[in-house]
Every structure is written in C-alpha cells, then in structure tokens.
C-alpha cells in the first residue's frame, strides 16, 4: 500500500511540476506577449521598431527619435536589434500563423524582399499612400521597390546606389588614374583591367561566386530586368541579359575579376590589397573604411556601362532598405506622423546621421545639404557623398518582381555553369525554366 501511495504521490508531483512548468512558461510568455502588445500599442506615445545595424540603421532610428522628441517630448521608441534573416523568419512565422501580435509597429525591410512580403502577406502591412508622407521627395527608382499595385507600403531609407571604388596608388603603378575609369564601358574596363593585372598582378574586382549581385547591377544599369512588366520571367531573348552573361564570363576568364567563396574573403581581398578595386552598393564604403592604413588611397566613380544595350547607363543600384509599418500598429497616426516628420521630412535629421553613419539618403532635399559636399579624407578628399547622391538620382528603375530571389539564384547557377564552359543560351533557358517552375507555370 505504502508503495502505491508513494507511486501516486511521485506521479502526481511529476504531473504537477510539469503543469507548473507549463503554467509558468505560459504565464511568462503571456507576460512578454502582453508586454509587446502594450509596447506595440505604445501606451500613447511609444513605437517598437525592428532593424539590424547598431552603427547604421539603429543609430538613424535613435537620432530620428531625438528629432521627433523636440516636438513631442513624451514620444518614445523601443528599438530592437533584429538581424534581417530574423526579421524575415519572424515575419513569415507571424503572418502565416495569422497572429500578427508579435510584430513591431515599424520594421526595416530589404528592398529586394519588399514585393514578395507585401504580396504574400497583404494583411500584415499598412498602406501609407494617403498618410501625408511625401513620397515624391524620394528618388523614383528607390520608391518603386515599396510600391505594390500603385500603393505605397514603405518609406525609403538608405541608398544602394552602385559605386566603383579604386585604389589610386595601385592604378598609379600601372599608369592610370580614376578618370580613366569614369564613364567607361565594360570592354574598356576589361582592356585596362588586363593591363593593370599584367603590370601589378592585381585584379580590378572581386566577387562572391554563386551570388548574382554583379549580374543584377549590370542589368539594372541598362534598365533591364529578369522579369517583364507583368512579372513573368523574361530571360530567353533578353539581349541585355545575354550581354551581361558574356561580359561576366569574359571578366572571369581574363582574370580581371577574381571569384571568392564567402563574404569575409570578399572583404579580405580589399582590406588585404589583393584587388585594386570593387563595384558594389555604396554601403560597401563602411567595410572599405575598416582598413585605416588605406586612408587617402581610395577614390570612387561610376560603374562601367554595357557596350551594346540600348539604354545603357553608368548607374545602378544594389541593396538598400525601406521602413514598413505593420498592421499590428495600434497608433497608426503616430507612426505615420513620426516617419513623415523625420525620414520623410527633416533635412536636419539627415545632416545629423550622415557624418557618423555614412547613411546616404534617398531623400532628395537632403542631398542638397552642405554636409553632403564636405570632402572625405579617406577617399582622397573627394566629396563622395555628394557624388553618390548624384549617382542615385540617375539610376534607372527596374522591376524586381515577387520571385526575385528565385530568379537571382537561378541566374547565379547559370553564370557559374557558363564560367565553367557551358553554352550561354542553354543556361539562360534553363534558368528561365527554373523560375517558371517556381512560379508554378
């Protein structure tokens, strides 16, 4: 009997402790949920924001908070550091479960993922079209990323205008200056690149293998895209794409472009002086400037343009992000007013964040500010921020489409095979098939 009593007692205590665990777990999660909800509701004057870079977009948000507090002393921001991959995962989880209460009021979204997320989860994002935010004061190509079916879902933030960076000291050894690289075409770039490689042993450019950043930059510089107006893949018979593929293969074969396997190696090629330059979104400057011993040895200019494509320009875009307001926001007016008066309305705010973070605005009035034309010592005393703002205003708009990431990966696979010797037309056709398949066609 005693044994039985003991057994029941032990079992009961186990069940109890388990439910106790479950209970405490529940209550704590309830607490946090309650907490985020009150935070999201903002009491009266608080907003929660997700973004990911303490030196960059989080810093910008903190400064925006101070700016807005000048008029609304009670206003508070709760900025939560959330890496982009986590933002995407949390967003997908919350939106597919239909329970949006875990989302913040405002989140920062990669421009390339904007269309996909808004179209997949239309209920999760607030339409900002009639909110009083002046979207016309942003660069048109930039705003286009966050426009779905004619409605504005995002407030543009940082700039991804493409810059070509060169090591002036290495170019000098080969007898060139950065002017020889300004307003040139890819065929000239390859010609000079071969010469630089021969004389200094350094390639002009490094790239991540298996990534299609450069391909997409080259495409957009000619206003071309992997998709047509209706969002269907248009790769076969896309003359610009074929030219881009040929150019890329030529770059690799001539040795002017060296492929590396991961991001650290890519940054390493620049900081260790194994390459004489790079071409990327202007945010790459932050990484270049980590090599303090190279101060004064860099210069920037525009990227080469395609030789044959009809609308070829020397300007393109890579990366960048925009602020989105979620429908979980309980104080929509506050969120809209906050964004309208800071990111979409204050030149003073952009003047504050630029020197410390290098966050280059897509807000056109800010580009005229004097802060942008100050010379930058690291880049040989050139007013690089003004240069970049000028580049940004000339970027042709292109269509990213919902299936952008699928298309990027398919093209990356194709270009890897082409560099290894496969036929260009066959590979492009295979890439289009892959994207069509992903779209269920």
């Amino acid at each position: 009997m005693r044994k039985k009593v003991m057994a029941v007692l032990v079992a009961a205590s186990m069940v109890l402790s388990l439910t106790a665990c479950g209970g405490s777990g529940d209550s704590s999660s309830n607490n946090t949920e309650g907490k985020t909800e009150t935070e999201a509701a903002g009491g009266e004057n608080e907003l929660t924001v997700w973004c990911w870079d303490p030196a960059f977009n989080m810093y910008a948000m903190e400064e925006a908070e101070k700016e807005y507090q000048k008029e609304n002393p009670d206003f508070k921001l709760n900025i939560v550091e959330t890496p982009w991959a986590d933002v995407q995962t949390k967003l997908t989880t919350a939106a597919s479960s239909g329970d949006l209460s875990s989302l913040p009021d405002i989140l920062l979204m990669q421009d390339n993922a904007f269309q996909k997320n808004v179209i997949s989860y239309p209920d999760a994002f607030a339409d900002l079209t009639g909110s009083g935010i002046d979207f016309a004061s942003f660069a048109g190509a930039k705003t286009a990323y966050s426009v779905v079916e004619g409605k504005n879902y995002g407030v543009p933030f940082d700039n991804g205008a493409v810059i070509a960076c060169y090591r002036t000291d290495i170019l000098e050894q080969a007898g060139y200056t950065v002017d020889d690289f300004t307003d040139i075409s890819w065929s000239e770039y390859i010609k000079i690149g071969k010469d630089v490689l021969e004389k200094t042993g350094k390639p002009l450019l490094s790239c991540l293998s298996g990534e299609s950043d450069l391909i997409v930059m080259m495409l957009q510089s000619a206003g071309a895209s992997l998709f047509d107006e209706e969002g269907n893949p248009s790769m076969v018979d896309n003359a610009a794409l074929k030219e881009v593929m040929d150019t890329y293969a030529e770059l690799v074969k001539s040795g002017v472009l060296v492929e590396v396997n991961d991001w650290d190696q890519y940054i390493g090629t620049m900081t260790n002086s194994t390459v004489a330059g790079t071409i990327n979104g202007c945010w790459i400057m932050a990484s270049i400037q980590t090599a303090e011993d190279q101060s004064g040895k860099w210069a920037i200019t525009n990227m080469p343009k395609l030789d044959k494509a009809a609308d070829a320009t020397n300007y393109s875009n890579n990366g960048g992000s925009s602020w989105a307001v979620t429908t979980n926001c309980k104080n929509m007016e506050l969120a809209e007013d906050f964004l309208a008066k800071t990111f979409a309305g204050s030149v003073a705010f952009y003047e504050t964040i630029l020197p410390a973070s290098g966050a280059i605005a897509t807000y056109s009035p800010a580009a005229k500010s004097d802060v942008y034309s100050e010379p930058q010592e690291f880049f040989g005393g050139a007013p690089v921020y003004a240069q970049i703002s000028e580049f940004a205003s000339k970027v042709p708009s292109n269509n990213t489409g919902v299936y952008y990431y699928e298309a990027r990966d398919a093209v990356a696979t194709a270009v890897t095979n082409i560099v290894a010797g496969a036929d260009v037309e066959t590979e492009i056709a295979a890439a289009e098939d892959t994207v069509n398949f992903a779209m269920g066609k």
Binding site: A7, Q88, S120, E259, N261, T274, Y405, T416
Partner: protein
C-alpha cells in the same frame, strides 16, 4: 485504506502507476511532435503562396519529381550517403577496435581526442572548414609551399572537390561519435574469446572481420540507421560550408526546403511535401537495413 482500491490486483496497481509515469511525457510528445507532424501532412496536400492555401491533392508530390533543383538535391544527398556513411562507419569501427586494446597507453586521451569534434558546433566547424579550403586558406598555402600547386585551387568552386570537402567534414565531425557506440558495444564482448582466438592462431584481420563485426551487428545496425537519417537531413554543412554551390552541386534537400520556406516566396505546402519525402526515404532505408542487418529471427 479500504474500498474499491482493495480490488486492484498487484499487477494492475503496477500497471496503473506505470501509466501514471508515462502520461505526462506521452501527452507532451503527442502535442509537441505528433500533432505538428499531422498538421504538416495535411499542409503537404495544399498549395498556395503565404497564407492563401487551397487544397491540391497530390500536386506537391508529383511536382517535386519535376523540380530540377530538388532532384539535384536528392542526388547530392545520396552521393553523401553512399560515400560518407560506409567510410565513416568502417573508420569508426577500426578506431574502436584499436582503442579497445587493453595494453594501449593513453587510451583515455585518444578516445577524447577522437570524440572531441562532435562537441563542436555544427556552424563553427563548417565555417572553419570553409576557411581551411579557401583559395588563400591553410590547405592551399601548404600545397603551394610544398610545391604541389603553383596557384591556389578553388576547392569550394568546383563541384567534385566541394562534395569531397563536405564528405571529409562530415567524416571528421561524426566518426568519433559513432566510435563511442562501437566502444560501448565492444565492452560487452568477453575479452577471453579474443585470447582464445589468438591461441588458435587467428590473425588480427580475421579477428576483426570474423568476430568483432558479427558480434557488433546490433550496434552497427543502430549507427547505420542513425547515420542514414542524419545524412538525408543534412543542412548545416550545405548552408554554411558551400551555401549549396557551385551551381547547386552541393545543395541538400533540407537546405532547399529552407529556401522554399524562408528565402523564396513562401510555399509551405510544397516544403511540407518535400519534408515528408525525406521521412518516407528514411523509413524505407531504415526498414531495408533492419531486414538486411537484423538476423535475430
């Protein structure tokens, strides 16, 4: 103590307390594991983007066999399985029988050294392998300095070498883990039968194949099934070591499922269907291994 309790026999009482102990765990497993699996099965018969799912019957299951990338991933998984699992298990077996030698000195040190890799995080070891085999990494530097290569070879940039590196990484990571199973299996084999074999003049080779392997059969079966399962669900190495490249030559099924759910336009129905294919493959392979390996009947 009186009343209805008295009518319980001893065995019923023991049964009841047994069930009382089992219930909490059973409920938790059912709620946390079986219910989601059931929901995933239902999900795998639906299709659509994000939340807008509609019933699609077996569409997803037919679709995956027309999906060139998924077929490539399936092929890659089987390449890893066919090459990596046998090499690793034989190596683990050999190491275990070497370390089982009673006269070996510093046995504890060797055992720990061989087991240690599987205490490292999957992500960090993958990242370390990636930098080892980088164009300017340690391996290339050594090969260039010894005169075997003139310039660095891009190991992760070529399909065959990238797969070989994944297999090498897996062997490094998991051999010690399987060796521990074999060592514990070997503890159960009476040492005197080895002495008897030695007296009868058996060579170490004969001892290994005619005695150790047959006596370890249940453990070998266990490790084979676990390794098959692990290889078919391979994810970290594909993501962190090669990122599926070059040109999908090393992508695994799990990596593709992840892309389908979180990187691309979310298609959870299709992702769930592919997960179920992995489940079916693991179940079939485990069944075949049991049929081939379990000789108790």
């Amino acid at each position: 103590m009186s009343g209805p309790n008295k009518k319980l026999t001893l065995s019923r009482k023991q049964n009841l307390s047994g069930w009382a102990f089992l219930t909490p765990a059973a409920i938790l497993i059912a709620a946390m594991s079986f219910y989601p699996m059931f929901r995933a099965l239902i999900l795998s018969f639906k299709t659509g983007v994000g939340l807008n799912m509609k019933w699609a019957g077996t569409y997803n299951y037919v679709r995956m066999f027309q999906d060139a990338v998924f077929m490539q991933a399936l092929k890659n998984n089987f390449i890893y399985l066919i090459f990596q699992v046998p090499i690793m298990l034989v190596l683990a077996l050999v190491l275990a029988s070497l370390l089982n030698n009673k006269d070996l000195r510093f046995k504890g040190f060797f055992r720990t050294a061989i087991f240690l890799p599987c205490a490292t995080s999957l992500v960090s070891y993958a990242v370390i392998f990636r930098s080892l085999f980088a164009v300017d990494g340690l391996i290339n530097t050594v090969l260039i300095n010894t005169g075997l290569l003139s310039t660095g070879y891009n190991f992760l940039g070529h399909a065959t070498s990238a797969r070989i590196i994944i297999i090498l990484a897996l062997i490094w990571r998991w051999t010690g883990y399987n060796m521990v199973f074999y060592l514990s299996g070997l503890q159960n084999i009476e040492y005197s039968i080895y002495e008897a074999a030695k007296i009868d003049g058996a060579s170490p080779w004969q001892v290994f194949w005619k005695m150790t392997v047959p006596l370890l059969r249940p453990t070998i079966l266990l490790t084979a099934i676990m390794s098959t399962n692990g290889t078919l669900q391979l994810f970290d190495e594909s993501v962190n070591l090669t990122n599926g490249g070059p040109a999908n030559a090393t992508i695994t099924m799990s990596h593709y499922i992840y892309n389908m759910s979180f990187k691309y336009v979310p298609n959870f129905g299709y992702a769930a269907a592919m997960s179920y294919l992995i489940l079916i493959l693991v179940a079939v392979l485990a069944f075949l291994q049991m049929k081939a390996g379990d000789k108790r009947d």
